[in-house]
Subunit: 245 residues, 2 copies
DNA sequence: CGCCCATTTGACAGCTTTCAAATCGCGTGG
DNA sequence: CCACGCGATTTGAAAGCTGTCAAATGGGCG
């Protein structure tokens, strides 16, 4: 009957690679926070805002993006339940991008000062958060390569593979079939393409039997072939690899 | 006459935003390390390698890159004296990209275990390294937007602006004129273009009076106009902004 | 049932790439 | 001091992937 503690997903995330002591765990759960529920499209943070909070995504999906000079949008990453979306706000003063809800989301806002104090008082927790940031960086690097050097078909297939594994890892489904809560326009903004071309690409992948689509759900017909088509090597997600001395 | 300590640049980097205590400083300088000098083109780390060391770049330039399925290369970031290039190696097990020397470089290799121990024993240093990682991430995000949503001219101009500010910040020159130690092919791999098109773009920027070139040195004729052409907002570099509670 | 947004589709334009070949820059050897 | 060699830079012409513009179709919701 006891509700699980609202920050449990954060603990799960941090303990995926690091073992925390009891005092560390208590300190994490003891973080002050404000719970919010936001509808799809609502902003969680806006580029240029003074960073006040870090944000734990407790349920739902969100995305980070930037608007460039000509007004077009580039999505930088997609986040799902358990992700700590704005850890950089703990140390950087100004948000350099926006974060928006993709679906209805439940979030916990944690004041930056508390995150800093936690890291200072509990180095093991600090290192776990640092590790999370490092993995974030690894995914960003893969996205640079994806939009910079792959053709449309490969980019889209790569993105579909990434979602499959991350959703599976987050316990939200299996890699063979999952919900893709994004419009084709949003997929286009992830891949640096146009929605028109994403549509053609998706249909091409479907025609070739690599995926099947139904509403917003994606079924991967042939994981091996989709991975090949997407030049996908999951190593950059660091799903398995633990940190150790 | 006393040689400056080889790890001094690391201290400079870490103390740019954070104030460290005397014990912290000593701990950083006390890090075990191996000094190396590598010629241009040599690998500092190869994708897939088991990560053993983090690497402080003491002088020279280096770049990180990935090779995608069709064999083409995407450069992920450029590094210059003072940068700590492979901090992610401290916590992640496997290198997900390669790092190569762009010029002759002097590096210091620091065992991952020592970095971890340092972060555990000196939380302030750990947080400074974390902050460095966060800024890295911010630059990666800007690069995603750059290759994903800007046209060739804008991408190249943006890159030139970034180099100008970063070299100035690193104390290697002034923003109005600096050495660009890269071939046009490498510039192409930074921007997701071909070297042919980079060449045309550079000439176009030059023809319009935004830059002048001489060998590998770049003079920025009109900083304002180049910044506009490159849709450049330096905020993402977090050059000024300090962390505070 | 009707509105609105997302998905599709077609024709055409255009930015970049590709493919080659010429020129340039510079260190090396005669 | 000049010729040679090789990688980098330039240039031109043509092809192609992706974007643009419009319009039709489809699906969910009040």
């Amino acid at each position: 009957m006891a509700e699980p503690h609202p920050l449990t997903p954060m603990l799960r995330k941090l303990e995926k690679w690091t073992r925390l002591g009891e005092a560390d765990r208590e300190a994490v759960l003891g973080l002050p926070h404000v719970l919010r529920t936001l509808d799809a499209h609502k902003y969680i943070i806006r580029e240029g805002d003074r960073a006040e909070n870090s944000c734990l995504l407790r349920s739902g999906f969100a995305y980070r993006h930037k608007i460039v000079g000509d007004g077009s949008r580039q999505i930088l990453s997609i986040h799902m339940a358990g992700d700590i979306v704005d850890l950089q706000n703990s140390l950087l003063m100004t948000a350099d991008h926006s974060v928006q809800a993709l679906s209805t989301v439940e979030i916990a806002l944690i004041p930056r000062g508390s995150i800093q104090a936690l890291a200072a008082a509990h180095p093991a927790v600090g290192m776990a958060m640092w590790l999370d940031t490092l993995i974030d960086g690894s995914i960003f690097r893969e996205w640079i390569a994806n939009v910079g050097r792959r053709d449309a078909r490969t980019r889209v297939a790569h993105l579909l593979c990434e979602f499959a594994l991350r959703q599976e890892d987050a316990g939200l489904g299996e890699r063979g079939r999952y919900e893709l809560p994004m419009t084709q326009e949003q997929l286009a903004d992830c891949t640096g393409l146009t929605s028109v071309h994403v549509n053609r690409t998706l249909k091409s992948l479907e025609r070739d039997g690599l995926i099947r689509r139904n509403k917003r759900s994606v079924t991967i017909g042939d994981w091996q072939r989709l991975g090949d088509a997407g030049d996908f090597n999951p190593q950059y997600l660091h799903l398995e690899i633990a940190a150790e001395a």
